[in-house]
């Protein structure tokens, strides 16, 4: 049994110095007339403790070098929880930013924060400094948990004193009574806030409650037919909804998570599946394309695999079929969802995949209701395009401190997905497009308008138009068209490109920038975005 002290000493606890003035009740933005039904349910921290205690001798997590038992994981989480609570000003409901890459440390800290009664705010380790400051201010996070390596790249945070967990004899005995501090629990408190990425505009924080996370995890366990002895290869970032759903659905079963994969080197993923006898892999479409085109995936036997799953974007049907045939009798699940629904909303039962059309997302997961409606919220007939809306225990509690945006997305107890869809006579749902201009770039959510606003703020220009286009080598990317202020552009394209690269997350950086004198207009006298997109291809 290795020492949790070595591992725990890698974590830095930074106190933000912010004492939150927010009344806990303010966190919920819908009035009681509209409030969604919630089952009181468990607390995710409690559930984790229960599972970890029951499975204490079994393996919980393996990295490339170490394997942790559930007992070790529980001890680590407990000590992180204690560290947070050792500060007398720390209150239940406080937000704690988790700025740690996928790792055993991340998982221990996630549950440690919950066990202390806190709200987890997971963020990518490479979050731009401006965005981090905005989120710190908006959430009034009491603590940031990070590592020295991550902090060395966050210039705003270096130099701020941080705590580490003191070394002490680690007792392997955890008494039941000290497991979880009793907190003032209202029905279904907040468990986490997942922010959408991007330094342009204001990132939106999706508020997820304990019920949200638990209900979605349980529904996923059901339709994927997960067993306790699963060994998922975890490649998705845990700080995103999809990766988080893999984490929750497997930990709550007492499964063995394998964290030995690097998406930079896709062949290593194929090797890891066999080396660790992984039973599953979940990933975004880009990674599956890469596996098919750039690895030995197609010709390598993967006997331990039970299933593969894809979400976070559309994979062309012929590629889904190719993967499905490659791995048979293992199952291939095509899935659909969004962060506002915790993660998952729909899936295609693998047996039906061959007969269903491109863009089909299948049917609702257990416990969720999906409907296609017109703009007045009325149900419409088969084959007619409308907006897809959803109801279920997994629907978010709202956007953090943004009642207005919340009201746009959650109306009369339904989450409006923003996706256009049709439903056929058999009840299969097919996505037809987006209501707004949201684009998925390599699995990341991007609003072209955020790039336009960034350009207007950062360059001496009068107008900016950003459109998605299909780049034949790499899929969907953004093109940016600029109209300079004044007669000549004061910045060259390479200069603008450099500024974008330095300040934006990679998925928002335009792959193509062009300076124009004017924009083509369509017959409605609006900027012809389709024409612009075509000229970039």
């Amino acid at each position: 049994m290795h020492s949790t002290t070595d591992f725990l000493s890698k974590l830095s606890f930074i106190k933000s110095g912010i004492v939150s003035n927010w009344d806990y009740d303010w966190d919920y933005h819908f009035d009681s007339a509209n409030s969604l039904e919630t089952s009181p349910g468990f607390n995710l921290g409690d559930l984790f403790c229960e599972v970890a205690t029951r499975e204490s001798d079994r393996s919980a997590i393996s990295s490339s070098t170490t394997t942790w038992s559930y007992r070790s994981l529980l001890v680590a989480a407990q000590r992180i929880s204690n560290q947070l609570q050792s500060n007398p000003e720390y209150q239940p409901g406080n937000r704690v930013i988790l700025l740690v890459p996928n790792s055993i440390e991340y998982i221990a800290a996630f549950y440690g924060i919950l066990m202390s009664g806190g709200v987890v705010v997971p963020l990518p380790a490479n979050t731009e400094s401006g965005t981090l400051q905005k989120i710190l201010k908006s959430t009034e996070a009491f603590y940031i948990i990070s590592t020295p390596q991550v902090l060395s790249r966050q210039s705003e945070l270096t130099g701020i004193p941080s705590e580490t967990i003191p070394a002490e004899d680690v007792s392997q005995e955890i008494s039941e009574t000290t497991l979880v501090k009793p907190t003032a629990r209202r029905t279904d408190p907040l468990a986490a806030i997942f922010f959408t990425a991007g330094s342009s505009g204001t990132p939106k924080g999706v508020m997820l409650s304990h019920s949200n996370l638990i209900s979605n995890a349980q529904s996923i366990q059901k339709y994927l037919e997960l067993k306790a002895d699963e060994r998922p290869l975890c490649v998705l970032p845990f700080h995103h909804a999809f990766g988080n759903s893999v984490l929750q659905s497997h930990i709550l079963l007492g499964s063995h998570l394998i964290l030995d994969a690097n998406t930079l080197f896709p062949e290593s993923i194929v090797k890891s599946v066999n080396q660790h006898r992984c039973t599953s892999l979940s990933a975004v479409p880009d990674l599956f394309r890469t596996l098919l085109e750039r690895t030995s995936f197609k010709k390598t036997e993967l006997p331990s695999l039970r299933y593969l799953s894809v979400a976070g974007g559309a994979l062309p049907h012929h590629l889904s079929m190719e993967i499905s045939q490659c791995i048979a009798p293992a199952r291939f699940y095509v899935m659909y969802g969004q962060t506002e629904a915790t993660a998952r909303l729909a899936y295609v039962p693998p047996d039906h995949l061959p007969e269903l059309p491109d863009g089909c997302i299948g049917r609702a997961i257990p416990g969720v209701t999906l409907e296609v409606v017109d703009d007045k919220g009325r149900s419409i007939g088969p084959g007619i395009v409308g907006e897809l809306r959803a109801k279920g225990a997994n629907i978010m509690r709202g956007y953090w401190r943004d009642a207005e945006e919340t009201r746009k997305r959650i109306r009369n107890g339904w989450l409006y997905t923003g996706d256009l869809a049709t439903c056929d006579e058999a009840g299969w749902i097919t996505i037809k497009g987006r209501r707004n201009a949201l684009v998925k770039i390599s699995g990341y959510r991007v609003h072209p308008v955020d790039l336009e606003e960034f350009a207007l703020r950062s360059f001496p220009i009068s107008q900016a138009v950003a459109v998605p286009f299909e780049s034949k080598d790499v899929g969907t990317r953004l093109a940016l068209y600029i109209k300079p202020a004044g007669d000549e552009s004061q910045l060259s394209v390479p200069e603008m490109n450099s500024i974008c690269r330095k300040n934006l997350p990679r998925q928002m950086v335009p792959d193509f920038i062009q300076i124009v004198e004017s924009f083509p207009l369509n017959h409605a006298m609006k900027i012809d975005r389709t024409k612009l997109a075509l000229s970039a291809e």
Partner: protein, 85 residues
């Protein structure tokens, strides 16, 4: 020949990351310089600029450690018989 391939790689890395302090020996992986989207950009650049197709055995942490090792890989793939040393 070796040096100019390396220079072109370093220049590409400067432009694709916006970081001007990257050198031929700058470690690319653990430092976070290469993320999966930038890696895709790099592969497309290498393949189109040097007219070759990288194999799955070519895309490994050892060969992509820094611009120098990537340049070596390119040289070896362009002229498999002309190995250095």
């Amino acid at each position: 020949m070796n040096i100019s391939i390396q220079d072109r790689l370093v220049e590409f890395l400067h432009s694709v990351t916006g970081q001007q302090n990257i050198e031929a020996s700058t470690e690319l992986i653990d430092s976070g310089v290469l993320d999966s989207l930038t890696m895709m950009d790099l592969l497309v650049f290498v393949e189109s600029e040097f007219q070759l197709r990288l194999d799955f055995q070519d895309i490994t942490p050892e060969l992509f450690k820094n611009a120098g090792t990537i340049a070596e890989l390119i040289i070896n793939r362009l002229h498999p018989l002309n190995r250095a040393g």
